[in-house]
């Protein structure tokens, strides 16, 4: 563990190897600017061993159909019911779609919320914003992702970033709006660390995480001294957001580079072939495995985006025709991919004793129209959809809320994205209405005051 309280400078001699550099990094704070060091100290004040609840958010980009996934309506007319039958789960009375045979065996580990809805424009981007931040962006204000608020409030554990996004941010989904993966008004320094690589690719490695062999410890330290001296001349740049951001990112980069834990967290190759197979050899499967490793290493929040876009990619966005996905493609490719990775993650976390302090939420950005469209698909429908929450303080095996007979709108206990966010904040041990300084220091609560956590889940 990095000792940020070590005031005595470590001594180095020339000719250190890369291994020495990394080792040295683990015992001394070189490589941090003074400002960065102070921040790191502040962040480290909560011990790296704190037992605070973590969170993994599996974002099911595209918007899974409630009727074909976790809210089947076996008694509905055929044009609503869709092609799949409902199957029993290991929780008496709970049924889910047959396309998730493995998930059905773990229904005691999560609760299904069947009455989530939103009222904004029915494009993907608005749902991404609301599910990741709890709010729709308006008036030029971009709200922070839940993991970014957590980063702001608790900082990273030791040298690890508080919030990591794998494998890539959500790309183009048609609405041309921000997707809410970033820190918004909290500033870029609380943006997630983005992996930007496919963990399922052969020879996967986090780009540029480690210094080259010839940059020894002594050189890294010297570079820092030079850099601090160089930047002394431009103190007024502190006023500039972009310049401050550069500093913050350098500080974070140094922390990562010198962290044995960070290396460990990203070292997917250390997993056995069996474990890797268990999660499924897909980008999403390996990203879930990466999420587990990162949580184990001390990351507080991991966002896993199941897909990068909804165009020309097989996703949950089952409009039924090109460039989108049809229902059978979803059943054959998307659902098994999720079924395997999600259950492997729950099992693996449970076996390692991590599930008790790690919430896992699996959610999309909206539901699908109950009535099957002429192309055999279903279109955007934010009026009701289902999400899964479990782990940490969240009680499993429950069904919260219900949709009406056709899966069209909430029938009981309607839940807004803001309430889902409030639930996650509560689960993370935070007051959902804690105020953070917004733009121009205007106090903005984590979620709006009228958005209360779903208390039945605790």
């Amino acid at each position: 563990m990095i000792r940020l309280d070590a005031d005595r400078p470590a001594t180095f001699c020339d000719g250190h190897t890369r291994r020495d550099f990394l080792h040295a990094g683990a015992v001394a704070p070189f490589g941090l600017t003074l400002a960065g060091l102070n921040r790191a100290k502040a962040n480290a004040s909560g011990s790296a061993k704190d037992n605070d609840v973590n969170c993994i958010m599996l974002f099911l980009v595209g918007g899974p159909s409630q009727l074909d996934t976790f809210d089947p309506k076996p008694k509905a007319p055929a044009e609503v019911r869709g092609p799949f039958t409902a199957i029993k789960t290991n929780v008496v009375g709970t049924q889910i779609s047959e396309i998730f045979p493995k998930t059905a065996k773990h229904a005691d580990k999560f609760s299904i919320i069947r009455s989530v809805y939103h009222t904004a424009t029915a494009v993907h981007d608005t749902g991404h914003q609301m599910m990741q931040t709890g709010r729709l962006f308006a008036g030029g204000i971009e709200y922070p992702h839940i993991g970014c608020s957590l980063s702001y409030l608790k900082g990273g554990r030791g040298e690890l970033p508080a919030h990591v996004l794998v494998p890539k941010p959500i790309g183009r989904t048609g609405g041309n709006l921000p997707h809410g993966h970033a820190a918004g008004y909290l500033g870029k320094s609380h943006d997630p660390f983005i992996l930007n690589a496919d963990p399922n690719a052969p020879g996967f490695k986090v780009p540029d995480l480690l210094p080259p062999d010839y940059i020894t410890g002594i050189r890294a330290e010297r570079r820092q001294k030079f850099r601090d001296a160089v930047d002394g001349a431009t103190a007024t740049f502190e006023n500039n957001g972009a310049a401050k951001q550069l500093d913050d990112n350098f500080a974070l980069a140094y922390k990562l580079m010198s962290s044995a834990k960070a290396r460990e967290g990203f070292a997917l190759e250390k997993e056995s072939a069996k474990t890797r197979d268990r999660y499924g050899r897909t980008r999403f499967g390996q990203s879930c495995l990466m999420a587990r490793r990162l949580i184990e290493a001390g990351v507080r929040f991991v966002t896993v985006n199941m897909f990068e876009t909804v165009f020309d990619e097989v996703t949950w966005d089952i409009h039924g025709s090109r460039p989108f996905t049809d229902v059978q493609q979803m059943a054959k490719e998307v659902a098994p991919n999720f079924d395997t990775a999600y259950t492997a993650l729950l099992e693996d976390l449970a076996e390692r004793g991590l599930l008790s302090n790690t919430m896992v939420i699996a959610c999309g950005e909206f539901g699908r129209t109950p009535k099957v469209n002429p192309a055999g698909g279903r279109d955007h429908h934010p009026h009701v959809w289902s999400i899964l929450m479990g782990g940490g303080p969240i009680k499993g095996g429950q069904i919260i809320g219900e949709s009406d007979e056709l899966g069209y709108a909430p029938k009981t206990r309607p839940v807004t994205p803001g309430e889902v966010a409030a639930t996650l904040y509560k689960g993370l041990g935070l007051d959902p209405h804690k105020e953070l300084p917004g733009p121009q220091n205007r106090p903005i609560p984590l979620v709006d005051y009228d958005r209360k956590p779903i208390n039945e889940l605790f």
């Binding site: 204000i141 160089v230 431009t234 121009q440 205007r442």
Partner: protein, 825 residues
């Protein structure tokens, strides 16, 4: 149907001397039927900007209650034919003298129109919004057009479908429209209005009077007016806004209750759904008002809480309209400008912003030593003639026009790139440049501009890309329905798209060759109507469908006409942003009524000057570079530190990816090799030999050359026409790459690098520090900096020559990754 009307004219005569002029809005009222109303505003104005809203503390009285009533809130309601006067008395004894009233016929009850009243109610109550019945598939079995863009269908759906239960003419109060909307029965969409409120009553009255649908004789909405036109306020001030629709028959109506109000800057001024504005901070906000298909704005200006001496805003000798308009704005906002930058700062920023390179050391030395008072102007002239100027701007326009081998074969990509670079080198006027591309005919290899049509083969994609590229505005939303935020209708979209429907493409004999020609036939069919609309530019005149005119030429004529309202502004804003760090409109390609410029007068003046000078690009750049605004220091004053958009100082900004990479190559003396090219999908790469060593990043015609550095630092992918493709955000990835990546580390270590040359030439540490500062930072080190760096270098020397070299490399690394280097300032 003949509408009775009540005309109420309000006149204000001499006012008691006070802070401002009292004014009543709207200036003239016409109420066109029973129960029509108009809200009055009583305000105090200074220089046509409202400084205080007195409406709430005003007593109103009508001279004839049989003609028009007025309530305490200032709402005038028509009662009967005739004319009346409204007297206006302010609190504290101030009075606005009597106003005359005239009233016209009132003999027949008016009725609510489906198009102009019922649809606005459904829009205001969000019944036809995208989340509710306006969704493509509707909701709960009821599908309305999004925000009412198709009244004919909406009327049919409401009155004829669902067994006519939605609108029940025998028992109007039983209509589902009312019972669901008021939630007198279960409604998934909740309560949209309440039993008996004005929306409910209007719908009920409309049903009672026969639920007539839209008619051809309906008046059409010409425009909306918003009062007051502008406001100059203090934090916590509150004022209200009223919106009035003006119809094709000259009548008008208060539509405040149906309009939609939004603020561009909630942190300066917020607005509620009834048009009430509350000031929350300093700066400027645009309040955007949407009604029907029209949109307009009013600006709310809130000066910063600074005490500023008027001398701070004195116009510099010989300054032109740019400085005049910027200083006018700064004075209004009480933002003092920073002083002028030093010569060293000027030469560095002018080189970087104009040519994308650092000033060569010899030129820096000569410039600093030059005593000529006109040396800055002379430098600007020289910069505009450098070959790097052509590289830099060819690159920028290649970003804009999506030049790359992603969708063009290599010969075609090169033809397109060469055409662009030659135009820049020749300083081809922007109108000729645009026309050359948009009317290109013949082989795409000899007429490189023709590749524009190869990149945008679909007519809708071509129309949308052209709107962004040359008009700086996106119209894509209107493809499927009226633009929800802007005035563009679906009809206008398809009329615009049809201008581009007669482009013929056919493969030529050579690789990458496409033969482009205008065709005599072909139509782009309206997505909903299924018919061809007469081709029409945005806000332009339609061309007959059977006209033999070349549609591309017709469009180019309209585009490049001196009075085109968009074309000059679009490019002026792009160039302004390049030099000033922030567009007058942000994002640079998002010009629209609902996103006004931070200095509207300046954008207008720049565009007019640009047109007057025949779209001369270099002349525009010269006037920006020569302005005091461009030459301001980047050091903030305490009083202008909060400003990031009114140009009170030079805005510090990170250098573009390509500029940083080229500077690394130039400063270290080790060129960057571009010898791998990615596939279009980006999932693999192959060797390429087209680019000899020494090719600079800014000279690349392609965005697919493999470069981890350029990707990390946000080069544009050239996939979609959008300024958002290029990013300047800092990221941990960048920091990790600078620390651990090969780009900079390998250049420093290289045997051919400048470090080797310094060592061979036996330079002292002090000399090396001087060299690095002058070349990379365009300045001498201060004596304390020099002392510090020499001491640090001396430390590394203790371990021998290898260590000395490493120490020097580390020093150069630190300078080249520091803020002062990476940010133009």
């Amino acid at each position: 149907m003949r509408l009775s009307s009540v005309c109420v004219a309000l006149l204000l005569t001499a006012l008691p001397a006070s802070a401002g002029e009292l004014r009543v809005y709207p200036p003239k009222i016409t109420l066109s039927g029973p129960n029509r109303t108009q809200q009055l505003l009583v305000v105090e104005e200074v220089n046509r900007r409202v400084v205080k809203d007195h409406t709430a503390s005003t007593t109103f009285r009508s001279s004839d209650e049989k003609v028009a009533k007025v309530n305490a809130a200032g709402v005038v309601t028509a009662v009967g034919k005739g004319s009346a006067t409204i007297s206006i008395a302010l609190e504290g004894g101030r009075t606005a003298p009597l106003t005359t009233v005239s009233v016209a016929g009132f003999d027949k009850p008016s009725e609510w129109s489906f198009r102009n009243h019922v649809v606005p109610v459904l829009t205001r109550t969000a019944c036809n919004s995208g989340a509710c019945h306006g969704a493509l598939a509707g909701k709960g079995g009821l599908k309305l057009s999004l925000r009412g863009f198709d009244p004919e269908s909406d009327w049919f759906v409401l009155t004829r479908q669902a067994l006519a239960r939605r609108v029940d003419q025998t028992n109007p109060a039983e209509s589902l429209l009312l019972k669901k909307g008021a939630r007198l029965m279960p409604h998934g969409g909740g309560t949209r209005f309440t039993d008996g409120d004005e929306n409910y009553t209007l719908l009920l009255d409309w049903i009672k009077s026969g639920a007539h649908g839209p008619r051809d004789s309906d008046v059409s909405l010409e425009r909306i007016e918003v009062f007051p036109p502008a406001a100059l306020l203090k934090p916590k001030d509150k004022i209200r806004v009223i919106a009035r629709a003006v119809y094709s028959d000259g009548t008008n109506e208060d539509v405040t209750r149906w309009a939609k109000f939004t603020s561009s800057e909630d942190l300066v001024a917020g607005v509620n759904e009834d048009g009430g504005i509350t000031v929350t901070g300093s700066g400027e906000a645009a309040i955007i008002v949407n009604f029907g298909t029209k949109v307009t704005t009013l600006s709310v200006t809130v000066p910063f809480p600074n005490e500023v001496n008027a001398a701070a805003f004195a116009r510099p000798a010989g300054s032109g309209f740019i400085d005049d308009l910027i200083l006018t704005k700064l004075e209004l906002l009480r933002l003092p400008p920073s002083g002028l930058c030093t010569d060293a700062e000027f030469i560095r920023r002018a080189f970087l912003d104009t040519c994308g390179i650092l000033p060569p050391v010899e030129e820096t030395k000569a410039f600093l030593a030059d005593k000529d008072s006109k040396k800055r102007e002379k430098l600007i002239d020289k910069l505009l003639e450098r070959p790097e100027f052509a590289d830099y701007w060819a690159y920028r326009w290649s970003d804009l026009l999506l030049v790359s081998s992603r969708r063009l074969q290599q010969p075609a990509m090169w033809a397109f790139y060469r055409k662009i670079r030659q135009s820049v080198a020749d300083n081809q006027p922007w109108d000729k440049f645009a026309r050359g591309i948009l009317t290109a005919s013949g082989s795409s290899l000899s007429e490189g501009g023709g590749n524009y049509f190869v990149l945008h083969k679909d007519v809708a994609a071509l129309a949308e890309a052209t709107a962004i590229t040359f008009l700086g505005t996106g119209i894509g939303c209107a493809k499927c329905h009226n633009h929800p935020l802007e005035k563009w209708t679906q009809d206008e979209y398809w009329a615009f798209a049809n201008l581009f429907s007669r482009v013929g493409l056919k493969n030529g004999d050579r690789p990458g060759e496409v033969l482009v020609q205008s065709r005599l036939d072909g139509e782009a069919l309206h997505l909903r109507r299924g018919v061809a609309m007469p081709p029409m530019p945005l806000d332009g005149k339609p061309l007959a469908l059977d006209a033999a005119t070349d549609r591309r030429a017709y469009f180019a004529d309209w585009l490049t006409a001196p009075n085109n309202p968009f074309f000059a502004k679009a490019v002026v804003n792009r160039i302004w942003r390049n030099y000033m760090g922030r567009g007058l409109v942000e994002a640079e390609d998002d010009l629209r009524v609902s996103n006004p410029a931070s200095n509207i007068e300046l954008l207008d003046a720049l565009a007019a000057d640009f047109v007057k000078n025949r779209f001369d690009m270099k002349r525009l750049m010269r006037s920006i570079l020569g302005s005091a605004a461009y030459q301001r220091s980047s050091q903030p004053l305490p009083a202008n530190a909060a400003d990031d958009r009114f140009y009170s100082r030079y805005l510090v900004r990170r250098l573009p990816a390509e500029v940083i990479l080229d500077a690394y190559s130039d400063l270290t003396g080790v060129p960057t090799l571009f010898n791998q090219i990615k596939t279009a999908a980006g999932d693999s790469a192959s060797a390429v030999t087209t680019y000899p060593a020494g090719t600079r990043a800014m000279q690349l015609p392609d965005s697919l050359l493999l470069s981890r550095f350029l990707e990390a630092f946000g080069r544009a992918d050239r996939v979609a026409t959008c300024a958002c493709e290029r990013t300047a955000d800092a990221s941990v990835t960048q920091a990790l790459h600078l620390n651990n990546g090969i780009t900079l580390n390998d250049k420093l270590r290289d045997k051919q690098s400048i470090v080797t040359k310094w060592l061979d030439a036996k330079l002292t540490d002090a000399e090396i520090v001087d060299c690095v500062f002058l070349a990379a930072l365009t300045r001498e080190p201060t004596s304390s900096e020099k002392k510090r760096f020499v001491a640090l270098l001396a430390e590394s020397e203790k371990y021998g020559p290898k260590s000395r070299r490493e120490g020097i490399e580390d020093f150069v690394w630190a300078v080249l990754t520091g803020r002062e280097f990476l940010f133009n300032h």
